[in-house]
Each structure stands twice: as structure tokens, then as C-alpha cells.
Amino acid sequence: MDLLHGFGGQLLLGAVSTVELAAASLVVGTLFGALGCWMQLSGSRVMRGIGYLYAAVIRGVPDLLVVFAIYFGGSLTLASLTGRYVEINTFVAGVVALALSFGAYAAEIARGALLSVPQSQREAARSLGLNRAQALWTVVLPQAARIALAPFGNQSIVLLKQTSIVSIVGADELMRKAAEASGATREPFTMYLAAACIYLVLTGLATLCLEWSERRASRAFGS
């Protein structure tokens, strides 16, 4: 890696952190999304209100603002709880912020997918003697998952790119490594271009995975 003045390895390490950050945010974000969707479809008005408010607020503000709010607000909360100044872990703050953002979109996707499964499917499952949980798990969810796959995958790719903003509060991922390498070599264009190429490979691989799973998921429909 003579081209990158020995920083190639550092950038690759950064890419690994980026993937870890994205994977952790995806898992936590999906949980937030499931929770948000469950609240939005809940019978209680208060729960529905909170579920919709969550999605509406997060979707209306920039992710960077959410990252700042979690990072600085989280530091202050921890400080007031423990009584001394604590620096919050940037990886954790990043995962929480990115997951909050992803969850808001995931909730909308999940709600749309669940509602698009015809009511008759649920009724048919119930009339066959399945209880509510069984009907949801074996009849409604498999059909909804197929509908949600494409938008969910696209949002995951957005998430992968959005991990870059966590570098602003100092999380040690690809963007951060590129910034450090730029400072050390005084070749910011080379370093950011290298980072851009790595992101391109990551999003390209994610797109291929998504296309493959979409093909697999649509296969059963034909038979």
C-alpha cells in the first residue's frame, strides 16, 4: 500500500469498524423499528401517539443532530447520574443515534408491510384454529417480510453510509481514519478518495446481497 503512504491498513481497520457500527445499529435499529411499529398498531391511543411521534420527529430532523443530541445529552445525563464528568463512549452513542434514526424508518416500513397483507389471510388462519400469535407468526409475518425486504434493505444501505457522520463526534471508523491519514500525509484528496472507494465497495456488496435475497424471496411466489 505504498500509494497510501502506509495508511492502507489503517483505512481497512476503519472499514471493519464501519461495518461493525452498521451491523450493531442495524440490530438495535430493527428492535426500535419493531417496537415503534408495535406501538403504531397498538389499540391504545397513547401508545399509537408515541409511536407516530417518534417516527415523525426522527424523520424530520437530520441524523447529525440526533448524533449530537445523543452524544452531548448522553454525556450530561451520565454526568448528572454519576456526579462527575464522564466522556460517553462514541461507539455506543453512535449506535444509539443511528439505531434511533433507522428504527423510525423501519417502523414505517414494517407497518406498511403488515397492513398490506390482506385481512382475509388473518381471518382464514384464525378459522383454521390458529391463535393470534400463531396466525401472526406463520401466516402474516412471512408475507409481510417479503414486501418489506426491498425498502428495509435500501434503508440498511442508507444506514451504512450514515455511519460516516459518527466520525464527527470522534468514533473511530473509516471516515475518522481517513481524516487522521489526511492530517498526517497532507494528502486529503487521496485519503478521502480511498475512503470513498471503500464505501463504494461496501455499498456495492450490500446491494448485491439485497438483490440476491430479493430473488430468493420472490422465488416461492412463482411455484
Binding site: V57, F72, S80, M175, A178, A196, L200
Partner: protein, 240 residues
């Protein structure tokens, strides 16, 4: 001790201070003006550039198609933050640029954000527009030709109006995404809404109040934008 005084401040500020929201709102308003200005200019630049991108993507020439696809792939496949940094920090690497007429523009963070996010927006809008243009039924164009319209006339009076109307919902979404993306301006020293909020936080040590206020301003802007684009869609929709 700095640390000790900071802790006392922290303790004093654990309660949510509503009066602080009113104090910071005027300053945040100034930041919001820059956010709005950037959003408007980026959307304009992005829309303007979306037309050549869309035409190249649908062009008969293979070279043009490959070039447009590569452009769209780069801007959609990499984070906007890399694009902004590549232009703002990257340009300084080259002596040739520093001595050229471009330098006053590329040295200015405002122009860098505008150009980087404008190019980014053009890739998204261009892709939508290309798909919308390709979806215009052939029969409509043939009907236009048979009425004696030239290719250019048919494009302007038949293809484009239909494509624009079809692309409008996605375009409205793109405006809101652009407004949110302008928050990246704060990473290259600009005092937009996010940048101002960050500055106010370091001055007041009150992240809850400041970021909540900034969030409310963003919500007001974005939901107004959403309302406006929905109205525009309804106005242009003659089928109803």
C-alpha cells in the same frame, strides 16, 4: 479547577430549562436562514443538473449512458460527508487548484457544500427523472409526432410535463432529504442550524434545551416543505 466548576454547572442544569428554549431560538433562527438558503440553492443546482444526467442515462450513445451511470453510482454509493470533505479538504492538496481561478470558490466552505450536495442531489433526482421519462408511454410520443410536432417539441410539451408530474412525489422527498443533508455544512465550519446548535451547546452546557429547540425548527421547516410539495402535487394532478 475547571473540572469541578463543570460538575457544579452540570448539577445546576439537570432540570430542563424552558426559558432557555426562548433565549436560544433567535440565534437558531439565524442558523435556520443559512439552512434554508443552502437547501434552496442545492435543490436548484440539483434539479438543473438532473436534466442532463437523466438525458444521458436514457441516451442512445453507450458512452453517455456509462458516464451517467458511473456518476450516479459514485454519488449514491458513497456518504455525502465524504463528498463534502473530498471537495473542501481534498482540493487543497493540489497546487494547481490553489493557483487557479477556482481557488476562491473551493476555499469557501459554503461553495463546497453547495457544489458537493448539489451534485449529490442531481444524482438522485436524475435517476428519478430518467425513470419517469422512460415510463412515458411510446404511443403518446407517436401521437405527438403524427400531429406534426418535432422531436424537441414533443419532448417539451408531452414527455417532460408527464415525467415531471410522475417524479414529483420523489422530488418532494428529495427536498426534505436535502434540507437534512445541509446539516453537514456544520462539519466544515459553517453556522447553519446544526452548527449554531453545536456552538450554543458549548456555550451554555445545555444540550437538551438547545438540540430540542433546533430539532423543533427542523421539524417546522421540513413539515412546511412537505405540506408545500403535497399542495403542488395536488395542483398539478389534473386526473382528479
Amino acid at each position: 479547577m475547571v473540572g469541578a466548576s463543570r460538575v457544579t454547572r452540570v448539577r445546576q442544569l439537570t432540570m430542563f430549562d424552558f426559558s432557555l428554549v426562548w433565549t436560544v431560538l433567535p440565534t437558531l433562527g439565524k442558523g435556520a436562514l443559512l439552512t434554508l438558503k443552502l437547501t434552496a440553492l442545492i435543490v436548484m443546482l440539483g434539479t438543473l443538473l438532473a436534466f442532463p444526467v437523466a438525458l444521458c442515462r436514457n441516451a442512445r450513445s453507450r458512452t453517455l449512458r456509462v458516464a451517467a451511470n458511473a456518476y450516479v453510482m459514485f454519488f449514491r454509493g458513497t456518504p455525502s460527508l465524504v463528498q463534502v470533505f473530498l471537495l473542501y479538504y481534498g482540493a487543497s492538496q493540489f497546487q494547481a487548484i490553489q493557483h487557479s481561478v477556482l481557488w476562491p470558490v473551493l476555499r469557501d466552505p459554503f461553495w463546497c457544500v453547495l457544489i458537493a450536495l448539489g451534485l449529490n442531489s442531481a444524482s438522485y433526482t436524475g435517476k428519478t427523472l430518467a425513470a419517469a421519462l422512460a415510463a412515458v408511454p411510446r404511443s403518446l410520443r407517436e401521437a405527438a409526432f403524427s400531429l406534426g410536432l418535432s422531436r424537441i417539441q414533443a419532448f417539451w410539451t408531452v414527455d417532460l410535463p408527464l415525467a415531471v408530474r410522475a417524479a414529483l412525489p420523489a422530488f418532494g422527498n428529495e427536498i426534505i432529504l436535502t434540507c437534512k443533508a445541509t446539516s453537514l455544512a456544520s462539519t466544515v465550519t459553517l453556522l447553519d442550524l446544526t452548527g449554531t446548535a453545536r456552538l450554543l451547546t458549548s456555550e451554555t452546557y445545555a444540550p437538551y434545551e438547545v438540540f430540542l429547540s433546533a430539532g423543533l425548527v427542523y421539524l417546522a421547516i421540513n413539515y412546511s416543505l412537505m405540506f408545500a410539495t403535497r399542495r403542488l402535487e395536488a395542483l398539478l394532478d389534473h386526473s382528479r
